[in-house]
């Protein structure tokens, strides 16, 4: 074992994992790109390269509409989730006495099946569902509310609930890293609690906020289950359209094209977001 250098041992040991992930990220991507230039009529795949799928996708108002809605919903989910999560992260990091218990309590619901959590919201928000029946029983309303389920609101609410721990943990970590002497210094220099928070605590947690936003935004754009279960026709997102291409419509080349467009759009928005957020963070300091 002396003969092999430390580096080569590192490569060998990590190779199975990195090769596995690397292969399953790169290979499907290559084939997806290839598919996006092919066409399909019924069952036969025509491998003559063409831009038809891209033309179709960009010309179709439904694609543009669903893509923009996916980005808008994911953005709303991210904003709501992070705004709700920040005080909790702050509470656990700065105030709570039993930090580990709180962290455990926050993460446990995340470990229950995602499908079942979304399903629970469908039951709660339904016309004859838990919420309406409870409100009726309490006499707070006279007839069931019909705006709870099958719209963008239901999608945002359900996803904000599902992603909560992902927002709390990165912000908690960045709060935890703050040197208490910085806060003391701010107080000694005559800053009140609010000014101190705005000028010291918040800027120092911007990396955590950015991480939380990305962790939520990127997967949410491509979420399938929530829009399918609680979105109705007004809350459908791009993932639902992609699934149709691979399922009922049986147009894999178009599905592949839509997947690629979704991936590039997400990447573009994420990069723009990170750049503006870091610049904004620097300005506050």
């Amino acid at each position: 074992m002396i003969f092999r250098s430390e580096a080569s041992r590192g490569y060998t040991l990590s190779a199975p994992a990195t090769a596995y992930v690397g292969f399953l990220v790169a290979a499907p991507l290559v084939i997806l790109v290839a598919y996006s230039f092919w066409t399909q009529s019924y069952v036969t795949l025509d491998k003559t390269p063409t831009l038809k799928n891209y033309r179709d996708a960009f010309a179709d108002p439904l694609v543009r509409h669903l893509m923009l809605r996916s980005i808008w919903i994911a953005g709303a989910v991210t904003a709501v989730t992070v705004a709700l999560a920040y005080p909790i992260a702050y509470f656990i990091a700065m105030k709570a006495r039993k930090k580990t218990i709180w962290l455990l309590l926050i993460t446990i619901p995340f470990w229950s099946s995602y499908l079942l959590r979304v399903f629970a919201w469908k039951l709660i928000l339904g016309f004859n569902g838990v919420m309406n029946s409870a409100l009726l029983m309490l006499g707070l309303i006279d007839e069931p509310l019909d705006f709870l389920l099958y719209n963008e609101f239901a999608v945002v609410l359900t996803l904000a609930h599902a992603w909560a721990p992902f927002a709390i943990l990165p912000i908690y970590v960045s709060l935890q890293k703050i040197d208490p002497s910085l806060l003391e210094a701010a107080t000694d220099l005559g800053n009140g609690p609010i000014r101190r928070f705005m000028r010291v605590t918040l800027p120092l947690t911007i990396p955590g906020i950015i991480a939380a936003c990305l962790i939520i935004f990127i997967p949410t754009v491509g979420d399938y289950v929530t829009p399918a279960l609680v979105g109705g026709s007004d809350g459908k997102m791009i993932a639902n359209l992609i699934q149709v291409q691979f399922g009922a419509a049986n147009n894999w080349p178009l599905g592949a094209t839509l997947s690629l467009i979704a991936m590039l759009s997400v990447g573009f928005v994420a990069i723009v977001f990170v750049l503006t957020a870091t610049r904004l963070g620097r300005r506050i300091k």
């Binding site: 041992r9 590192g10 909790i88 229950s112 099946s113 997967p219």
Partner: protein
């Protein structure tokens, strides 16, 4: 001291928001009425009793258990080597490699699912439990790597060096010194990766073909209002199982950190 108390109140409200929706599933699984709404008609265990009579459900359960077990073994084995490499050795491109392994966490599910379906069919693999295993191992790997990394973090490398100095070989040292110390981490990783696979839906939906896992089976039942009570009972059992497995995993993870002190 009014500020901390408002914050504390908010924290408790937040916990209610986190837990309450999920708790409606078990609550209504004991409801004798078939409509999920208040008031609750009466209490019954019938929905749980009827679960055992459904052959497709039992088959889906076995599928899920099988897939979860294989995924736990594969991802933990790969994660074990990778975590050791990342903690113990320094090499060029290490940070890139660590980032790459975490990538499955942030790729949107629909993109992973659709692109893997295309890849596997291209390679001549028909959608089946095998392709679900391959996909779930990919998703579970970041979890196993990060759990095992913290297990190795707590491991004192001088113990291994002492063993080498005493003339013990590489494999024997790994088996008798390293492995016992990181075993709680391995157990935690297997429990977590099993749960990740057991609960995963979108990938399984695309890749399972005509061999549904439990979440895919549930999806097929959700559309039928008549099947709702069954889904509630099944869902409640799954929720309980996931939470128990995770609490167990947390226990082992704690032990792996505590063992350093001994």
């Amino acid at each position: 001291m009014r500020r901390p108390s408002t914050l504390t109140a908010y924290a408790f409200l937040y916990l209610v928001f986190l837990y309450l929706p999920v708790l409606f599933l078990p609550l209504f699984s004991f409801n004798s009425g078939t409509i999920v709404a208040f008031p609750i008609k009466g209490w019954t265990l019938d929905w749980y009793r009827k679960l055992g009579e459904q052959d497709t459900l039992i088959q889906a359960l076995w599928n899920s258990l099988g897939v979860g077990t294989v995924v736990a073994i594969l991802s933990t084995a790969m994660g074990l080597f990778a975590a050791r490499a990342f903690v113990r050795y320094r090499f060029r491109g290490q940070r890139a490699a660590e980032g790459l392994v975490m990538l499955p966490l942030v790729i949107p599910g629909i993109i992973v699912a659709s692109s893997m379906l295309v890849l596997f069919l291209f390679l001549g693999l028909k959608p089946s439990l095998l392709t679900v295993v391959l996909g779930h191992t990919f998703l579970a790997l970041p979890f196993s790597v990060s759990i095992l990394k913290s297990a190795f973090d707590d491991f004192d490398a001088s113990l291994e060096e002492a063993s080498y100095d005493l003339g013990v070989g590489v494999f024997e040292t790994f088996r008798r010194v390293t492995l016992p110390v990181v075993t709680p981490g391995i157990v935690a990783s297997m429990l977590v990766t099993f749960t990740v696979s057991f609960d995963e839906f979108v990938l399984a939906f695309f890749l399972s073909g005509n061999q549904p896992t439990l979440p895919v089976y549930i999806w097929s039942q959700i559309r039928f209002p008549a099947k709702l009570p069954n889904v509630l009972a099944l869902g409640s059992i799954l929720l309980l199982t996931s939470v128990l497995l995770l609490v167990l995993a947390e226990y082992f993870r704690r032990r792996s950190s505590a063992s350093e002190v001994r």
